[in-house]
Symmetry: D2
């Protein structure tokens, strides 16, 4: 299949959508980004790469970081992790407190904010003040790129405006589902959200999930096969907050979005994909990114279903 042609078709077809959606405005450092951007990268298991658009532009990975911290925590703790964070879709927005209260501080899954904060807390219990370094190292190894880092301005902006996340973490602490100091956990969490990459780096970093846990380009084993499949399943059922069902329905691929405008997705045994466009739909997922992936699976028939 001629993926480059397909990317060009997609780029044309998404043009009318630039005026739709809205940039993430609850973090000032994100609110000032130029919304009219689009980039998409495809990485096959053999390393072949297809790019279109602003694929050199780095952006904040935000919630895409949850895939990496969950991978690390699942590797460390296995099934024990499920006592502290579930693996069911929540049916609610990414920062909802309601379900958390009814369920005594145990978040539904690691891809909503509360669940990702608990996941980061489990890493702090192991890696202490080296936690963020470990997270960053893991991502660098996964992407085979030691230049990846985080954006201090975004990080500070999140720290200053992270009231809802502080509400979540305090609530979970009151239910004894946070074991470390709130300030340590929240700083690590905001740092991981502030990591920046471009679409090709992200496509590289996620390729191991299309290949049973092994980066096929470096042969680095990042997680075992059974766990890699479970992470993919979780991306499919929970990767897009309360639009996860819609994403599975229209795109049909395991994926994870971030409010920075990025979405990663994988086609098992074939490729990883990353798309970027900053305007978000009302569920907080990249509007053009979602459409681009829907067009991609329509044109290629590469849905997992």
């Amino acid at each position: 299949m001629n993926y480059q042609n397909i990317l060009q078709e997609i780029e044309e077809e998404i043009q009318p959508l630039y005026k739709k959606g809205q940039i993430a405005n609850y973090i000032p450092a994100l609110a000032k980004i130029n919304p009219k951007q689009f980039a998409m990268s495809i990485k096959l298991l053999d390393g072949t790469t297809y790019n279109i658009g602003n694929t050199n532009t780095k952006f904040s990975i935000q919630s895409i970081s949850k895939v990496f911290t969950f991978t690390l925590a699942l590797e460390l703790y296995g099934r024990k992790l499920y006592k502290r964070v579930g693996h069911e879709p929540s049916g609610d927005p990414f920062n909802s407190l309601v379900q958390l209260e009814y369920e005594n501080g145990i978040p539904r899954n690691p891809f909503i904010n509360a669940g990702a904060i608990v996941t980061t807390d489990t890493l702090l219990s192991k890696y202490k003040d080296k936690s963020f370094d470990n997270i960053l190292d893991f991502i660098r190894i996964a992407a085979n790129d030691s230049t990846i880092s985080f954006d201090k301005e975004v990080y500070n902006s999140e720290l200053e405006h992270g009231f809802m996340n502080l509400a979540l973490i305090n609530m979970m602490k009151s239910y004894k589902n946070i074991n470390n100091e709130i300030s340590d956990v929240i700083q690590t969490y905001f740092k991981q959200c502030s990591i920046e990459m471009n679409t090709e780096q992200l496509a590289n970093s996620i390729l191991f999930l299309a290949n049973h846990g092994i980066n096929p380009l470096t042969n680095e084993i990042l997680i075992n096969e059974a766990k890699a499949k479970r992470i993919n399943s979780l991306m499919l059922t929970c990767g897009h907050y309360d639009a996860s069902g819609d994403f599975a329905y229209k795109v049909g691929l395991p994926g994870k979005s971030g409010v920075g405008g990025g979405i990663v997705a994988i086609v098992p045994n074939k490729m990883s994909i990353c798309v970027y466009s900053p305007n978000l739909n009302k569920q907080g997922n990249s509007l053009i990114g979602t459409k681009a992936l829907e067009l991609f699976t329509s044109k290629t028939g590469l849905s997992i279903f």
Copy 2:
């Protein structure tokens, strides 16, 4: 792969689980079934069949019927259907009223009771008093078996004890999301739930979803390819109520369970599977059935992820 050997291994490994779970007890006609039963059927696209256990025992398909009525309604109405029923996981039990109230009588998806009742209502608007006949005919054609029918005793038992479903339908009627007479809709709905089949019949009936909408044994086109993929996606994200995430996580196949003890699942482009065992876990899905499918994908590596 030697599927017959795998079925035998599964049958041995699930033995210790017979004492766990509980039979559906809210419908008297179901409550009296012998819980110590197990059957599993695999049907490849070429028609090869593998059976184990009581594969001649007919049982009530219950919520598995939702797959067929949704297929019919999606074929009839296409996207228009989404105005009346969504396609997001609900994160709640199968009969919850809470979400329905917050969302003004629009059910989250067609695989929870409220959504299936709306789906049946859309069929009544088209087929009037021939609605149940059409549903049954569709299933007979899908399974290529004209002997399939419904169990009158189960049907009457449901009618007498269906208060929660009557609560749901009355609520949706108050939100104007039911267009036909409540008694007509509810009778049709309970009849479809009371259809009985054995595991091989069910595996046959669902095979079209493993083959892009076409029954490969009869070449009958039951729905187009794009829609077949969407039905599969919906089974993955919503097929098991508030255990849908767990099923996707552990089994990794699109599937749909019924409180009668049956579960159907498909491996795209390869096969359909049906398993039966009446005891349910606390989310209302066959306990042994879920475990058997988990063992199946572990042993074969046939997860979609």
Copy 3:
């Protein structure tokens, strides 16, 4: 105090409010009433009466009937009644299903619809097919007026459009908190809601609650003193759905409203009051009626606080 003057002042001051609010439109028979009506009656313990406006106009008492059925049920069952219906404010609209689901079919209080339906069910267990006759007789004795009856057109209109109440009663039946046939309970409930009276009749009928349970004009003992106080307390905390706090805050009297546009209130040891005006505020209470009572306690200082 010159109550007639005060009523005249109130009538003048509420004039600008006729254009506000909206008539109950979910029951067609109520929707066609002329909204520009106002009537208010005061009845002192010695029988002195003050009237203003259309005090001869009969209207549907609707939820005001809940006070009478609760009085009857409390007299019959005493504390045992609390096992089936609570006495806490619900904080939710009059017909909410959410709380009912979380609390397993036990309504918060007898003045929301679910609670009143349970109350009527307890009367059916005692009075069988004489239940509505008993309710009507009780009201006739309380008001000392044998001409009081119900409006068949309103009753039929409620029966045809009572889907939300049918949702509530079916849900409670599924939780085994309804003991009689759903159709019997709902018919009795809708009949009691369809009873019609004018403001003076209602002021008479409720006077016993201002006088320790005894109608001071006939010396009829309708309930004992301790229970009368508790009914008053319940009217204060729960008499106006999710505007109960606001009514207590601004008016400061035990009262109960109905969507027919009536509100009754009592000043302990002094008087009963009834006001009528059909347009409702968004919580379903008479907009002008609420304001008239607020003006009344401001002008007279007769709040219980």
Copy 4:
């Protein structure tokens, strides 16, 4: 009426209840208090005092402080205050986040924690770093007792374990319903909760609410009559969290409880009452205190209904 005799009868009748209930255990400094204590003070408008039990024992007033801060804020802001905190019963526990999320960070009333925190925030906007001094001064003037102070150990214990309150305040901050620094607001809030008094001091401090806003012993005007009535109404409908209806039903007096074991109540135009006993019922109100007040109104007939 011989109030001293009545207090003695009450003290005898509550004896069997000492083994019931449980001390507040979420704040370590409160958890170590001797649970077997009882004190009750009555203060008539003419200054006559009736005491029984450990009326010299000081205890943490906790949520009773909400009455004083609300009085101060209502005096300062009048109706404008309602934009930031409502006056409806919540129907939920004292620290629930659910309702707050559905209602966009506007707490239901000033007597649940979220509402009291907003109230304190409004005082900080006016009094800046003198806020706590102002609150304490107000209480000293109300009680005519300059020795009243707060308990530093309790304050520090609350600061260390106040995760749920931090969740609430961060959530409201995210909805922009907190205008000052979170740390300033929460410190002031915990200080006011840590104020300690004995039952006679509390009865003195609250006497103004039984006398139209004026302390009858000092003639100090603390708030105007209309506002005093509204504070009383709010205590009746919202003073005891999700047991407010039950308290109104059984006791029939405006009152406010604190998890320190104290309850204050007033009989309009007659007296104030304070009762103390540390063991709490499951809604977080003094178990013996509630019973003592129920006995008091049964024996004296002094319910407002």
